[in-house]
């Protein structure tokens, strides 16, 4: 099946937005997961709630909230435009921001589970062996949480690829700029005689999802082997 230029545009745009969303959110997700796992402070549950908000709010509401904060006349949006000449509305970077926020809880949850599963005894051992806090974080916590970090990133990447409501509300549906695969399918369905185009795009999405599944399974297997020395003769 040969892809038309518009289809390639939508595919590449989707991949770009999802990649930027996941990579951009990753450090924050690790920080939030550490804070929620190891932090003992009043108001922790509030941070927990805020992190999980995108998961429970309708995506359209997320898009609306983004619009009223990052719109060119909204407080943060105006400040960004004035000082850094950054305009998020109607641009693919805005779509990446929306996708990053909506998929943020998936990353945090997966990393958090991985962190909670690290035996605290290993930290004690590392302490008696001379490792300070930063040393332990880099050489113990991060590598042991790596399977969770990758699992979270894969889930978040898929969620970003499929994000519709927040993106269309916040950055609209502009061909070549913000029209990702789901938005392109929606547009095709709305167009009279667009059934074939919609079917082709849907098939493309399914193929993409299958590829993603296979790649992620292979990655997880490789990492588990490398980390734990399991499943190797």
């Amino acid at each position: 099946m040969m892809l038309s230029p518009a289809e390639i545009d939508a595919l590449m745009l989707s991949l770009k937005i999802a990649a930027v969303a996941v990579t951009g959110a990753l450090p924050l997700a690790i920080a939030a997961a550490c804070l929620l796992t190891f932090g003992r402070f009043p108001g922790r549950f509030l941070i927990d709630a805020i992190v999980h908000l995108p998961l429970i709010l309708p995506p359209v509401v997320m898009g609306y909230l983004l619009l009223i904060s990052f719109g060119t006349r909204a407080p943060i949006g105006a400040w960004l435009l004035h000082n850094f000449d950054i305009r998020l509305v109607f641009s693919w970077t805005g779509a990446a921001l929306a996708a990053g926020i909506v998929s943020f809880p998936f990353q945090v949850r997966a990393i958090r589970i991985a962190l909670e599963n690290i035996d605290p005894g290993l930290h004690q051992a590392a302490e008696t062996l001379g490792a300070g806090p930063v040393d332990r974080f880099i050489n113990l916590t991060l590598p042991l949480a790596l399977p969770g970090i990758i699992a979270g990133a894969i889930t978040a990447f898929s969620a970003s690829l499929g994000e519709f409501g927040a993106i269309i509300t916040f950055v609209s549906n502009i061909p070549g700029e913000t029209r990702t695969l789901p938005l392109a399918i929606y547009t095709a369905i709305q167009t009279p005689g667009g059934e074939l185009a919609a079917a082709r795009l849907a098939a493309l999405s399914i193929g993409l999802a299958l590829c993603g599944l296979i790649i992620s399974e292979m990655m997880m297997r490789g990492i588990r082997q490398k980390l734990m020395g399991l499943a190797r003769p």
């Binding site: 035996d119 004690q124 302490e127 008696t128 001379g130 490792a131 590598p143 980390l227 020395g229």
Partner: protein
């Protein structure tokens, strides 16, 4: 090297109140039943917990001092800690686990020392493996090596054998003996297994309900009848130092030297650490230190030297205590050698014990200071019991 401890700490129902010093190389056993505060105590020494009161001094440096608000983090205390469950880092190879502390040590060991430790522990062949692929005994040996490679001032071992089955324990014990004999390092060894303590320790601290009940040389403590309620699972008797002096392969016997006296036991196998020694080379192995456990019920008493008897080991001894231990049983403490005055200070010559009936004691008319012969039916060497009259 000295370790001075004087701390009080409350954790749950346990009130820990411990005060003692460790000031020489060798193994000091921290012995007591579960829940007596042994692990809490070494966690405090390592800096993993912060006691409520008191001081801990390592090499004249206060690592903990409540009044002056000193609490050094574990990494600044120069302690090597071997945990019950090994705690190897699963994402690192054995080699990287071993070198973890070495890389971070302010005074790293020279390579020759590292090689010596790896050889001593017999782990050279495991270096490229992952921890998940190791047996429990191998894991514990690597954990021991990892702690040693950090060049610590003191080694803390928290029941390193308790998670292992008997075969694995027997695999590790010789390495611990080698560690004790080859490296001049004070070792604090937490254990609730008295046979391990008797085999390994030089000194012991007996703990009960968070309190130190007794401390001193392992030979003295194990000879004390007032502590049998605590050391009780052990077959009452004596643990005495000895030297394997030689072997007679034709006769199938080995000779042990003990305070100027000679004992004969069935031919001892080579120590597991003499792996390279061929079986017929045993006779040429150099003398080595060991310790004997002589159970009180394996010792008989004769007032004259018996001549026609199958027993090989008949030692001249002097009675220095007669203690009733059961309604019809008497524990006779016997100091090796004749001609001891009853006022002689303890510790000059090893003491063994005999458990006899009150009837026998009366029949033989045993008196303090009397010179008698101890007939030893069996002794335990290297953790294995040997019948000596067979």
């Amino acid at each position: 090297m000295t370790l001075q401890i004087d701390i009080r700490h409350k954790i749950g129902a346990l009130h820990l109140d411990a005060c003692f010093n460790v000031d020489r190389p060798g193994i000091t056993a921290l012995f007591g039943p579960s829940g007596s505060g042994k692990t809490t105590l070494i966690n405090a020494i390592a800096g993993l917990i912060r006691p409520d009161h008191g001081t801990i001094t390592l090499n004249d440096n206060a690592v903990f001092d409540r009044k002056n608000n000193i609490h050094l983090p574990p990494r600044k205390r120069r302690v090597g800690y071997v945990f019950q469950d090994a705690r190897l880092f699963p994402h690192l190879s054995v080699r990287k686990n071993l070198y973890f502390a070495h890389r971070r040590s302010p005074s790293p060991l020279p390579d020759s020392e590292i090689d010596a430790i790896i050889t001593m522990l017999g782990i050279g062949g495991l270096l490229s493996r992952r921890p998940a692929k190791l047996s429990g005994g191998e894991k514990q040996r690597i954990s021991l090596g990892r702690a040693l490679l950090g060049n610590p001032d003191i080694l803390l071992l928290d029941e390193p054998l308790s998670a292992l089955d008997q075969a694995r324990k027997n695999e590790i014990l010789p390495y611990l003996e080698a560690l004790r004999d080859q490296r001049r390092l004070p070792i604090l060894y937490v254990s609730h297994a008295i046979d391990e303590v008797a085999r390994l320790a030089d000194n012991m601290v007996v703990m009960e309900n968070g309190q130190v009940r007794a401390s001193g040389s392992v030979f003295d403590i194990l000879a004390r009848t007032d502590l049998t309620a605590l050391t009780g699972q052990f077959d009452t008797g004596a643990v005495i130092p000895a030297t394997v002096t030689g072997h007679n392969k034709q006769g199938g016997i080995s000779y042990l030297g003990c305070a100027g006296h000679q004992l004969i036991v069935p031919l001892l196998p080579p120590s597991p650490l003499d792996r390279d020694a061929a079986p017929d080379m045993i006779a040429n192995l150099p003398p080595r230190q060991t310790r004997l456990h002589i159970r009180a019920r394996d010792v008989m008493i004769a007032t004259t030297i018996p001549d026609a008897i199958s027993a090989n080991n008949i030692l001249p001894t002097t009675i220095f205590a007669l203690t009733p231990v059961t309604p019809d049983g008497i524990d006779v403490a016997l100091r090796l050698g004749h001609n001891h005055s009853n006022t002689e200070k303890p510790l000059t010559s090893p003491v063994i014990h005999a458990r006899i009936t009150a009837w026998s004691a009366q029949r033989l008319d045993l008196q303090l200071g009397q010179q008698v012969y101890a007939i030893i039916k069996s002794v335990t060497v290297d953790g294995k019991m040997r019948e000596t009259d067979a």
